[in-house]
C-alpha cells in the first residue's frame, strides 16, 4: 500500500519553443501574414542597406582636412564635419575659452552620476538632485558667461551649436516641469481665482505656435519695454520656451493627477497631512510616475523645437549646421551636415526615451493582479 510517490522528472520544453529557432518562429513566422511581412522587410533592407553603408562607411572619406581630399571617393565627405566640429559643438564661443564649456558638461556628469547609481539610497538621491537643481544652473551660468573671478566675459550672442541647444533644452525642461506641476495643481484647485488664472495661462500658451512666441519675445517685447531697457535675447527665448512648454507639461501632469483615486487624498487627509504634503508625498509621486511617457514625449519635442530659435537669430545645432552648408568654401555637403545633426539629435532623444523606460521599470510597485 505504501508505494512511494515518484515525482515526474522535469522535462526540457519542446525545442520548437526555445532558443533562436523558437524565437524566430514566434516572432517572425507565426502566421502567413507575418511570413509575408518578414520577407518584405528583409527585401527592403537588402535593397536599401548596402548603398547606405557604402555611402556612409566604405566609400566615405575620413582623413584629410580640405574638400580636395574628398574628390577621390564617391561616398560621404566626413571631413566637412571634422573641420566644422568645433563650430557645431560650441558655436561662436571663443576657441581659447571652450574649456569652460567642457568643464560645465563635466561638472554635470560628475554631479548627476550618483543619481544613476542604484546603490545610492533614494532619500540621498532626492537631496542630491535638489541641490544640483539649485546650484548647478548658477555655477554653469557663471562659468559660461564669465565676467567674474577673472573669467573673460562671453556674451550669450556667441553661444551656439550643441551648447546652445543643450542650454535651451536643459533650462526649458528643468523649469517647465515644476512650473507645469504647479499649473496642473492650480487648474484643479478649489479656489476659483487660482483656477481661472491657471486655465487662462495654459490655454493662452497652448493656443499660440512656439515660433510666434519666440518672434514676439524678440520683436514685440522690446517695443513695450522702456527705451534703453533691454534684456538678453537668449534669456527672452528661454522664458518664452519655458512658459510655452510649461503649459503643455501642465496638461500632461493633470492627466496623471486625474488618475489618482480620491481615496488616496482622503487617506492622507485622515492622517492629518496638509494639502502640500499630500500632494508632494502621496499624489505627485504616483501621478508623475504614471505620466513619465507623456513627460518624456514633451521633453523630446522641446529638444527638437529648440531649432526654432533660428527665427530670432540664435544659432543652435541645427542652424549652425545649416549655415555651414551654405559656406561657399564647402558647398555641396548638406547631406553630410544634416545626417550628422540628425544623428546627434537622435542620440539625445533616444537616450531620454531609454532612460525613461528604465525609470518606469524601476519605479513600478503596482503589482496589479
Amino acid at each position: 500500500m505504501s508505494a512511494t510517490h515518484v515525482p515526474h522528472p522535469d522535462l526540457p520544453p519542446p525545442s520548437s519553443t526555445i532558443g533562436a529557432l523558437g524565437w524566430l518562429r514566434r516572432n517572425l513566422f507565426s502566421s502567413p501574414l507575418n511570413v509575408a511581412l518578414t520577407v518584405l522587410a528583409v527585401y527592403l533592407l537588402a535593397i536599401s542597406l548596402p548603398p547606405m553603408l557604402r555611402w556612409a562607411l566604405f566609400d566615405a572619406t575620413w582623413s584629410g582636412d580640405s574638400r580636395e581630399a574628398c574628390t577621390a571617393n564617391s561616398g560621404a565627405c566626413w571631413i566637412f564635419i571634422k573641420v566644422h566640429f568645433g563650430q557645431f559643438m560650441y558655436g561662436f564661443y571663443p576657441e581659447a575659452q571652450r574649456w569652460r564649456v567642457d568643464a560645465v558638461v563635466l561638472l554635470l556628469i560628475i554631479g548627476a552620476a550618483p543619481l544613476f547609481i542604484s546603490s545610492v539610497s533614494n532619500p540621498l538621491k532626492v537631496r542630491l538632485g535638489l541641490g544640483l537643481l539649485l546650484l548647478y544652473p548658477l555655477l554653469a551660468f557663471m562659468l559660461l558667461h564669465g565676467g567674474l573671478f577673472g573669467l573673460t566675459p562671453v556674451d550669450t550672442r556667441q553661444w551656439g551649436g550643441l551648447l546652445l541647444t543643450l542650454v535651451i533644452a536643459g533650462v526649458g525642461m528643468t523649469a517647465a516641469l515644476p512650473l507645469g506641476v504647479l499649473l496642473a495643481l492650480g487648474r484643479r484647485s478649489k479656489m476659483p481665482a487660482i483656477q481661472t488664472l491657471c486655465v487662462t495661462f495654459i490655454e493662452f500658451w497652448r493656443g499660440v505656435p512656439l515660433i510666434t512666441v519666440l518672434f514676439m519675445s524678440s520683436v514685440m517685447l522690446p517695443l513695450f519695454l522702456p527705451t534703453g531697457m533691454n534684456f538678453d535675447k537668449l534669456l527672452r527665448a528661454l522664458i518664452g520656451v519655458t512658459l510655452f512648454q510649461a503649459a503643455y507639461m501642465a496638461e500632461v501632469v493633470r492627466g496623471g493627477l486625474q488618475a489618482i483615486p480620491k481615496g488616496q487624498v482622503e487617506a492622507a487627509a485622515a492622517l492629518g497631512l496638509g494639502y502640500w504634503k499630500t500632494m508632494a508625498l502621496i499624489v505627485l509621486p504616483q501621478a508623475l510616475k504614471l505620466v513619465i511617457p507623456g513627460i518624456v514625449n514633451t521633453f523630446i519635442a522641446l529638444f527638437k523645437d529648440t531649432s526654432l530659435v533660428l527665427i530670432i537669430g540664435l544659432f543652435d545645432l541645427m542652424n549652425i549646421v545649416h549655415s555651414a552648408t551654405t559656406n561657399p568654401a564647402w558647398l555641396g555637403f548638406s547631406t553630410e551636415g544634416y545626417v550628422f545633426a540628425a544623428a546627434v539629435y537622435w542620440l539625445f532623444c533616444f537616450s531620454m526615451s531609454h532612460y525613461s523606460q528604465s525609470l518606469e521599470k524601476r519605479l513600478h510597485t503596482g503589482h496589479k493582479r
Partner: protein, 259 residues
C-alpha cells in the same frame, strides 16, 4: 424616540465625552443627506452603526474627521469644535484614525513607509523612532514580516490590517471604521475583525460602520440604526437585536440576519 443609556457589557465607561454631534444637518446640493444627527460618544465607548445602503452612515462618520462638510449643527471632537480653519481640522485629524472600505494604502510606498509617513511628517518623529512604533503595531496586527513589501503584494485582509496599523501609528484617541470588512473574502473577514477586537479590548474609542452583527454583539456598547439620513434607533446590542423598537429596524434586521 426614547434615548437609552448605554449599558456596557464589557467595561464601565469613564463618562468623559469624546465626540459630540449636535443637530447636524448636511445637504448634497438639494439632497438632504443627514437630518438632525445627535450623537454623544464617551471615551472608550464602542459604537456600531448599521443601516441600509445610502442611509448616510459613511457621511456621518466622515463628518467627524471633517472629510465631509456639514451645513448646520456642531461637532465637538475631544473638546475642540470643528470649524473651517484648515490648521484646526488637521490637528483634529491627527487624533482621529480612519479605516476605509477599500483600504486606501499608498501603493508607491512599502508597508513600513505607509506606517511611518504620517508620524514623521505630521508628528515630526525621528525616522528611527517612527519605525520602531510602526514595527510594534505591525506585530500587533500580526504582519511584521510584510514590512518591506508593497501593498499590491498583500492579500486584502493583510492590506486592511496594514491600514489599521497605519492609523494606530498616529496614536489616535478615536478610530473610525467605514465598512472595513465589506471588500474582503469571507476567510479574511475574521482576521480583520480579530484585530479590531484586540483594539476594543485596549479601550479604544471606536465608531464602526459594519454589518457584522456578531462583532456588534460582542464588542459594541451601543448599536445605532440609520435610515434615510436619520438615526432611527440606538440601543445596547442585546436589546437592539432581541427587541428592536421600530418597525424599520425590525425589517432591516430580518433582512441581514436571515439569509
Amino acid at each position: 424616540m426614547p434615548e437609552s443609556s448605554p449599558v456596557s457589557p464589557l467595561a464601565p465607561l469613564s463618562g468623559q465625552v469624546m465626540i459630540e454631534m449636535e443637530a447636524v444637518h448636511k445637504w448634497y446640493g438639494t439632497f438632504h443627506v443627514l437630518k438632525d444627527i445627535n450623537l454623544t460618544v464617551q471615551k472608550g465607548e464602542r459604537i456600531v452603526i448599521c443601516g441600509p445602503s445610502g442611509s448616510g452612515k459613511s457621511t456621518t462618520i466622515r463628518c467627524i474627521n471633517r472629510l465631509e462638510e456639514y451645513q448646520r449643527g456642531r461637532i465637538v471632537v475631544d473638546g475642540h469644535e470643528l470649524s473651517n480653519d484648515v490648521k484646526q481640522i488637521e490637528q483634529i485629524r491627527r487624533e482621529v484614525g480612519m479605516v476605509f472600505q477599500h483600504f486606501n494604502l499608498f501603493p508607491h510606498l512599502t508597508v513600513l513607509e505607509n506606517c511611518v509617513l504620517a508620524p514623521i511628517w505630521v508628528r515630526k518623529l525621528p525616522r528611527k523612532q517612527a519605525e520602531d512604533i510602526a514595527m510594534r503595531y505591525l506585530e500587533r496586527v500580526k504582519i511584521p514580516e510584510q514590512a518591506k513589501k508593497y501593498p499590491g503584494q498583500l492579500s486584502g485582509g493583510q492590506q486592511q490590517r496594514v491600514a489599521i496599523a497605519r492609523s494606530l501609528c498616529m496614536n489616535p484617541k478615536i478610530m473610525l471604521f467605514d465598512e472595513p470588512t465589506s471588500a474582503l473574502d469571507p476567510e479574511m473577514i475574521k482576521e480583520v475583525l480579530d484585530t479590531m477586537v484586540t483594539l476594543a479590548e485596549d479601550g479604544m474609542t471606536m465608531l464602526c460602520v459594519t454589518h457584522e452583527m456578531g462583532f456588534a454583539k460582542t464588542v459594541a456598547h451601543r448599536v445605532i440604526f440609520m435610515d434615510g439620513g436619520e438615526i432611527i434607533e440606538q440601543n445596547a446590542p442585546q436589546e437592539f437585536f432581541t427587541n428592536p423598537r421600530s418597525e424599520r429596524t425590525r425589517l432591516f434586521l430580518s433582512q441581514i440576519l436571515h439569509h
